[in-house]
Symmetry: D2
Subunit: 369 residues, 4 copies
């Protein structure tokens, strides 16, 4: 399985002041024998070697192990397919078409995704979906497989939850995005979902990334809670390598020393990721802050910083939620969110993504889950 990495990468090897000619020559040989160019810059006090070419190959040889090497620094992006270098225009990803018209996420648009954190019952899911729909959401989120830190916490309904989601999505005219937590489940989840979500805890589960890359569905890729922006884009590159470029990135907060919020929303990561990659970037203000009263201000910040949309938790009765009720929006919050998005969108030269309602009056709770 031959893999060719990015061709335009660069690395810098800074030699120690005491490095000998032989030390330098050994580094140059190691580099050129792998097909890279090596440029030696001899200063009065220090020598620096610049490597240009397919340096990913070189990284594997771990130049740092050579004698006389003081430091090795990579100075260019190690991803290619998702990079904006050579792909200047930002991409739009389309989701759905199964039971409702396809929904776009990307530049010039503002897309709202909403739904319950976890699918609990058909009734709760339908109520949440209708709340979401009424607030302008065009995609339904909801978890059937829940990765929970504690094994004693609610783990999700599994396939039964997927069925509920699909039925509610059809009922309310919203394509469904749901998380998949295991490569072995991808096929199953893909039968019910319109978009596959990879969560923060699986951001470097490379088997899963490859599997969703092969599934033929768009992917919502959350940033790892300890993942750098580079890690995140390399995760996307794993998906892209399988031939799937319908990837939407989602910033959801990183882990820092601050404990007043559940995570620290890295708002700067939105414009940074958009500059480095052509993929759309969403923000999840619910999981970032972990508090209902932060969702609206963080949503506004997300739109103002240039995000292509937001994804939020809603629940008809948060106090009884089986998962993350503290951050779920209520009906009145949703109305305020919808109002804010509508007013902010034109300022950002964006159009709110809408879909025609397909829901019949008097539609009933789906049966069978």
């Amino acid at each position: 399985m031959a893999r060719s990495g990015p061709r335009d990468a660069a690395m810098i090897v800074s030699m120690s002041p005491g490095a000998t000619k032989e030390d330098i020559a050994a580094v140059v040989t190691a580099v050129t024998s792998r097909g890279c160019e090596a440029f030696v810059s001899r200063g009065v006090s220090r020598t620096v070697i610049a490597l240009i070419g397919n340096t990913e190959q070189i990284a594997q040889t771990d130049l740092g192990a050579h004698r006389g090497v003081a430091q090795v620094v990579r100075v260019s992006s190690p991803y290619k397919l998702v990079s904006r270098e050579g792909h200047a225009e930002r991409s739009t990803v389309w989701v759905g078409g199964r039971s409702a018209g396809p929904v776009p996420i990307g530049p010039g648009r503002l897309t709202l995704i909403a739904g319950p954190c976890a699918v609990e019952t058909p009734q709760q899911t339908l109520e949440a979906a209708r709340m979401a729909r009424a607030a302008g959401a065009v995609l339904l989120r909801g978890g059937a497989f829940k990765p929970r830190t504690s094994p004693y916490a609610f783990q999700g309904l599994g396939e039964a939850g997927l069925k509920i989601l699909a039925e509610v999505g059809a009922e309310t005219g919203m394509p469904v995005v749901t998380e998949v937590v295991d490569a072995g489940d991808v096929e199953l989840v893909a039968q019910y979902a319109d978009m596959l979500q990879v969560g923060t805890r699986n951001a470097q589960n490379f088997s899963l990334l490859k599997a969703v890359g092969r599934a033929g569905l768009p992917v919502l890729l959350k940033r790892g809670m300890s993942g750098t922006i580079e890690d995140w884009l390399l995760g996307a590159e794993y998906v892209a390598q399988q031939g799937n470029l319908a990837i939407v990135l989602c910033e959801r907060g990183i882990r820092t020393f601050e404990s007043a919020t559940r995570n620290t929303l890295d708002i700067s990561a939105v414009p940074m990721a958009q500059r480095l990659s052509h993929l759309p970037v969403l923000v999840d203000p619910s999981h970032s802050g972990g508090r209902r009263d932060l969702v609206l201000p963080l949503s506004r910040a997300a739109v103002a910083v240039g995000a292509d949309g937001v994804i939020v938790d809603v629940h008809p009765r948060p106090a009884q939620a089986l998962c993350d009720g503290a951050q779920a929006l209520l009906q009145e919050d949703l109305r305020e969110l919808a109002d804010s998005l509508a007013r902010l969108a034109p300022l950002m030269n964006r159009v709110l993504t809408v879909t025609e309602s397909t829901e019949e009056p008097g539609a009933r709770v789906p049966v069978g889950a």
Copy 2:
């Protein structure tokens, strides 16, 4: 020097399952002997003691050192003067009046502060100030004492820089905010400045906090780069204890594992600090991101999240700046920033703070520095 702390604090002492009656009694005695109330909750498997009252005194006794204690947790805010509990209305801080009308920072308003990172020459400072003024800035920022990580980096002009700032402030009709880095300099800086800034590296320099608290000028308190929101508010409490409540908080990014940006702007800290404290909260998007192209999006995010204003670096010729040129805004950036603020303010129910121009046409470079 008797100090009475917050009266309505609480702590929880969770005893180990194996703790004896004597262990519990010893904790209760230690607590009540310091004038706090102790409530013992005996569950089937575990005993918990709730302490209510002036628990700051108790913290000093370090209950964790008692036998049978499993965990000690503080569950309420340890600050009082700057807390929003008992001070529901958010405060407005007024700056200046020396050579220009006083400028308000607080709820319902949106205040722009701008100027050069460092004062280099009268000419550069005046040009930067005019750029700032033209973009709607009503306060002039600029550093004469620069705390630089490296002793080999430009350290600021000192008093000569203060003079330039004061002259340029008067010339352009903008009160001046500038950093003070040592308690011994407070008196000197207060002769020239309208507002004293305490920088991120001095956020826990308590001598300095006390000194600026006594200086009779409003204070701009940046968050420490590794300070929690609680640390930050306790820093403000140090200032407030000296009888000075004219404190403006400023979020400027925290240190995390992400290195793509200079710091990680903790955008959630803005609404959190506003909820916990009645003090105004600004955002510094220049030092957070450390990149010019992030200043505009982060400024928009700051306003959208509810900040009471932003403070930005400008420089007429960034490529020649002696400090942080990479993040200084250019004329065209400023115009876009001004435009964004003007359009976002009404959405946030805020009015842009303006001052009448006092600058005469043809005003000249100030002399004497």
Copy 3:
């Protein structure tokens, strides 16, 4: 699938000063209706409610969503099977027995695990294994499935690598520990390995944790690079819930702002984990520091802090390694490591784990991979 959580947990609900009697009553009802005890402590200024019992159930209701609640704090450990509460004696885990005698890891012993980061060829693996063996290693580590941040980096030999490992392990008399990265691969890997490793990127891949828990082999569970000690122990609890308590924890560095080392070895986590859990705790100094010259000092620190063993990378020719050559030990480093361990062990009241050599003189490179 009824799950009963830890019975002796506790949570504290701190009410706002303005909370009403009704607010308090509502919280008490919500709690007691789920079978927990609620103890209300009314102080002069503030009320605190202590919940004791199976509070994991309560966490799901997200008390924070109730009116008048200021803060909710959990004050006891949410894990049970791996907790040291109720299991005071520290455990020993035995590995192997397939082709060599079983090897113990646990209190009173000091166990060295060594081998190549990645299996590349039979020759390289055998040479590395012999280096490891000569230095006193009793278990062979080596990766056949490599989770790599970049998709362009070497991904491991897969099953071919497993075969090499098994043959080299048999040849050198060392049971084999190797990483499994996907629940779907567990059965395959279990055919060749004596111990299954879950790596840092999969520390919250709960499907994988459950799968290795069912595989009937001991598990080496690395800490997530952004995982708290509590997250780590909850990960172990996932494995334990499947009936498998043969779990060895491994500290391997966490992600912080410091970039001089690859990760920050959290040396304090070793005694902390040993205090909180009865499971053995190892240290991986190779991946923590990412530098050969740190492996020896960090190994010594690990032993001195009380670790039950260390696991290190070795490579006969690091400069040609396909993975992490910069941190692989050389023959001379290994000798020094062996010497250090031998001298430190008695100071820590530990005995170096040894196995009788089973390797015949003149043994040859294994065939068939």
Copy 4:
């Protein structure tokens, strides 16, 4: 104030693939006009410019502001006086001589510093000092000026505390190390102390660093809780620039997401700092962990990793301590610590630093404080 920085530094400017010849020329001009050498490496896909010389000057021009620049990376150490490059032998710092013989800290030795976190009374200080002395401590630590996060916490006795320390130091034959928190206090503290400590919160209080550099006493420089190793060494460089190279570095834990310990002891920073700088490096296990039961294991780890000594808190009655009682060692802990150090020292080829006892039998509590 002409400052010449390190001459042998290097920076790398990586140009964007689309950078023009003019862009490249502009960078080269900017660099060479400041007296640095510029080496241009043109690869097929990308151009890299290596700068060698006094690049600290260049850093000020912020090359990142130039058009076509993709990334700027510094690849060598920005400090000079404290660097080990050009100063291969590690330094020994001597403390005291005022009322007791001078005490060495440095290679080949193992030095124990102990004493109360805060000076409370003459009696408590003398008792703690005798405990320290009995355990082999040769320097007395103790705080008279306490930087406390909360203004409601005990702030120290000030000059009265300094007097107690000096008297107890003379009484017990131990030179005194104590913290100074403000440049304005340096002269006062220097009248009583043998070594000036700069604490973690003042690690970037550059006024204070300069002032202690001029005081003519050795300096104990704690690492900032959010300071990188580079920040720390640059802080030392500030002291060194004042002509004072009698600096001892002290690792005391950094701030991370892990909250089970007060800070995260960065044990790897010890060998790293010793490799980068010739200055001695101590470890403070008391403030790192914040728990008594971690002090002994962390002290052992510190010695085993190669630290030149440890500094610990002791208190005769921790439960009544006014500051950090939870981490203070008791008599029996100290005995175990002394025993561990004595056994570990020879393994590390170190000799325990000892002083002859100068304390008379029956010595009494010092008068006058």
